[in-house]
């Protein structure tokens, strides 16, 4: 009984672009110990919506005990969250899952952070933590992909990393996806941390295998419990999983971050 659902108070809300919002919420001490790549579950205040919404941790201010999340409005839940204003409360559980492993972060190695679309937010906290762990800004290279010239979080990421931009339509940065970006910007990763849509992650897994680079990728699946009990959120794993012994890892509990070779996309 070390965890609980808590009521977090909204400190600020910002619309970063069209349908992308940033919420900063006051959370307890416990939650502010989160590591990059972990997520929280947000509960809707509307009783017709029973399931929590998993949202990645974008940033943590452990002194203020504040956490920032950035999300796209895609359905009823995220639309509700986008209406929150300062002073509103939202129930959350977290931090949940296993984040990116940066225990052995080597300051001389090239750490490459790849974020596509709404997979960009977790990269901010990751870049910050790598930086705090002693990796110089020059060895933290963030390649982020947008649809078009509408970007978000770029300035925040530039505080801790070198930022390289790609866009689907070429309106900004390199035209193409983040792997095109790697090539075009001539970046040679020693280790990759990625979050984004499945096709992008597939590409990264292939790239990592070809180039024998360690790649951590963060997966998504619909979730119910968010803590590993209900088996809603599994992905195919290369090895037999610890829980059910059937090569089905739980994204919420064993992930969301996996080594690329651990899972089959």
């Amino acid at each position: 009984m070390t965890k609980d659902k808590v009521k977090a108070v909204v400190v600020s809300k910002e619309c970063l672009m069209d349908d992308i919002f940033s919420l900063t919420i006051k959370v307890g001490e416990n939650i502010s110990k989160a590591v990059p790549g972990q997520f929280i579950d947000l509960y809707s205040n509307d009783k017709s919506r029973m399931l929590p919404r998993p949202i990645s941790i974008c940033d943590v201010d452990s002194e203020k005990e504040e956490m920032r999340i950035v999300f796209r409005t895609v359905g009823a839940g995220t639309s509700e969250f986008s209406t929150y204003e300062k002073g509103d409360t939202v129930e959350i559980v977290g931090p949940l899952g296993n984040g990116y492993d940066i225990k052995d972060a080597d300051k001389d190695k090239v750490h490459v952070l790849l974020g596509g679309g709404i997979g960009i937010p977790p990269m901010l906290y990751l870049a910050k933590k790598l930086n705090e762990a002693g990796v110089p800004k020059d060895n933290i290279k963030t390649v982020i992909g947008f649809r078009d010239k509408n970007t978000f979080l770029v300035e925040d990421l530039e505080k801790y990393s070198q930022v390289f931009i790609t866009s689907d339509n070429g309106e900004i940065g390199i035209k193409g996806n983040v792997i095109d970006g790697l090539r075009e910007y001539n970046i040679k990763p020693d280790v990759i941390y990625a979050c984004g849509p499945t096709p992008m992650l597939k590409g990264i897994s292939a790239y990592a295998a070809e180039n024998s680079v360690t790649a951590y990728i963060s997966l998504e699946e619909r979730m119910a419990c968010g803590i590993g009990a209900c088996l809603a959120c599994v992905c195919k794993s290369s090895d037999v999983d610890g829980h059910s012994k059937v090569k089905n890892k739980r994204i919420c509990k064993d992930g969301p971050v996996f080594l690329s070779e651990e899972v089959e996309l």
Partner: protein
């Protein structure tokens, strides 16, 4: 004030357990809930061998509920005996093991392996809508239900609870078949078969096409069935279907349930079971109820 209830000779300290499949074996939820506070822990369905379950997406949200087609992924009885039961044994709570299978022999196999385990009660899931063989095939046909109940009862050392499907014309017919087959108790309801379509992708929302609907949305149907079954048979009933508060739990008890399970509501609030137990206690105090059995089936 007495909150304890007796299911086929097994005394639960309070009437609240969890619905199979929504709570794993309690390990993950033990971060949120002192399992010793629960009347019983009901575990996720376990088969004779590990089951892979269905492809993802396995769930979808529905108005005041959800749909799942997890498809009974489970590690099989051997791992379960080695890992899950010893874990649960560490808590002061009763253990209800939910059993699934594809054939009568599968069920019997699992039940026999549980004979000398710390399991207090066996809940036989003959009502899962999400697996092709077994499961629902037994749960929608009174003759098949009677037969499997008889076979499992014969093999079981612990009392058996037959878990009924709501996807039937007449739930009392099924309840009577289970009673005739020798069931010691009944639990109901399992999920209602549903479907959701993603109209933009023109695809089913869960990979299995259909899934089982659970949560508050189905509560009125569950309460009705518990009421009907309580009138039709003498067996104790574990009622479930959309319980999310003490009021909901009491509704089932007043309809005739001896105990209740909290399922989908755990997903909205991981420590909801504790609120339900506390709320029942407060209700009893406020209403001057000395023994929970006073209100069982009190509505006629």
């Amino acid at each position: 004030m007495n909150m304890s209830v007796d299911i086929a000779g097994v005394v639960m300290k309070n009437p609240v357990t969890v619905a199979s499949g929504t709570f794993g074996s309690g390990m993950e939820y033990s971060d949120f809930v002192d399992l010793s506070a629960l009347g019983a822990v009901t575990t996720k369905g376990v088969a004779n061998i590990p089951w892979q379950g269905n492809p993802t997406p396995r769930i979808a949200e529905t108005p005041s509920g959800m749909m799942n087609a997890v498809g009974l992924q489970n590690p099989g009885i051997d791992t379960f005996l080695e890992r899950d039961l010893p874990f649960l044994k560490g808590y002061d709570t009763k253990i209800i093991v939910n059993v699934c299978g594809k054939s009568e022999d599968d069920y019997v196999d699992v039940v026999e392996k549980l004979a000398d385990s710390p399991a207090d009660l066996l809940e036989i899931n003959v009502s899962c809508p999400n697996v092709k063989e077994g499961g629902i095939a037994f749960g929608q046909n009174p003759d098949a239900l009677f037969e499997i109940t008889k076979k499992v009862k014969k093999a079981a050392k612990q009392p058996i609870i037959m878990k009924l499907s709501p996807n039937v014309t007449d739930i009392t017919e099924m309840a009577r078949a289970a009673e005739a087959g020798g069931a010691d108790a009944l639990s109901l309801i399992n999920t209602l078969t549903g479907m959701k379509i993603d109209i933009y992708k023109r695809r089913f929302a869960v990979a299995n096409k259909t899934g089982g609907v659970s949560g508050p949305a189905i509560r009125p149907i569950a309460v009705r069935m518990v009421y009907q079954v309580a009138k039709a048979v003498k067996l104790p009933i574990i009622g479930m279907g959309g319980i999310a508060s003490a009021e909901d739990a009491i509704e089932f008890i007043m309809a005739g349930a001896t105990a209740v399970s909290v399922g989908t509501a755990n997903f909205r609030n991981p420590s909801v079971t504790l609120d339900v137990i506390k709320g029942i206690e407060e209700f009893m105090k406020a209403q001057g109820i000395n023994d929970i059995s006073e209100i069982r089936g009190c509505v006629d």
